[in-house]
Amino acid sequence: MRENKRHVPETVERFLDSTLDSVDNAEELAVSAAQRAGFEDDDVMKIGMAVRESIVNAVVHGNRYSEHKKVRFSVANNKQRFTVRIADEGDGFDFENLPDPLAPENLLRTSGRGLFLVRSFMDEFQIRRLERGGTEVTLVKYVVSK
């Protein structure tokens, strides 16, 4: 972490259209917030990529680009935790039985690495079905101030 004596807690929330433009917008918002939170460049990149992969899942696999469905995206940071929540309005998927992308038989698959990368880049990762429908992921990176 960069020295961050003037850490200011903040929360950003957006309701995004189910488009690829939203993927870029959410990534930019997350990257800007991570920079303000004082993360080093490598962690900023990891947070941005984890958000990108999660929003792609919400837009493409969750809401299936529906113009009638939104992606709820929020970023909150305090002195300890940088937390991103992303929720879609899709039909959900069986996230407990995803193929292991590192298994030899799966290495040449052209998809299925997104959630693996999210888990690799963040300190905490949670996924749950929402009662009203849809899937929510929560991504956390620990803030370690000097």
């Binding site: 690829l20 993927v23 990149m45 990529m49 990108r52 992969e53 792609v56 493409v60 992308p101 590192l102 290495l107 040449l108 698959r109 052209t110 998809s111 690495r113 997104g114 693996f116 990368l117 690799s120």
Partner: protein, 114 residues
């Protein structure tokens, strides 16, 4: 900046210089179209120079794998050149460095084709 691809011929090896972002959408589809076009022209030796690639997501990784499979299944070889640290780290954690033949020197990469 999205992706830019420039193809040049070095002997019988087709070198594709890739610059920018290989991400879901325009970036990954441009790479896919280029590689399929080369396979369609029976180009069997393809070297992807990723030295100027600033960013790649899981969709871009999928396109690299797809290109590798397409070229290999057509009897050709696809190799990678000049991975920056971020791209190399991504291929490392996804175990794809065990799949791709990766080079850091273009001349040596050219010579490595059968």
């Amino acid at each position: 900046m999205s992706v830019k691809l420039n193809t040049r011929q070095v002997g019988d090896v087709s070198v594709v210089d890739v610059a920018g972002r290989i991400t879901l959408g325009e970036g990954s589809s441009a790479l896919r179209d280029t590689l399929r076009g080369m396979v369609g022209k029976s180009q069997k030796k393809i070297l992807l120079n990723l030295g100027e690639v600033s960013y790649i997501d899981s969709s871009g990784i999928g396109e690299l794998v797809s290109g590798f499979t397409t070229v290999t299944n057509s009897g050709g070889e696809l190799k990678l050149l000049n991975l920056n640290k971020r791209v190399k780290d991504l291929l490392q954690i996804t175990k794809l460095l065990t799949v791709f033949d990766v080079h850091e020197d273009e001349a040596a990469a050219i010579r490595s084709f059968a």
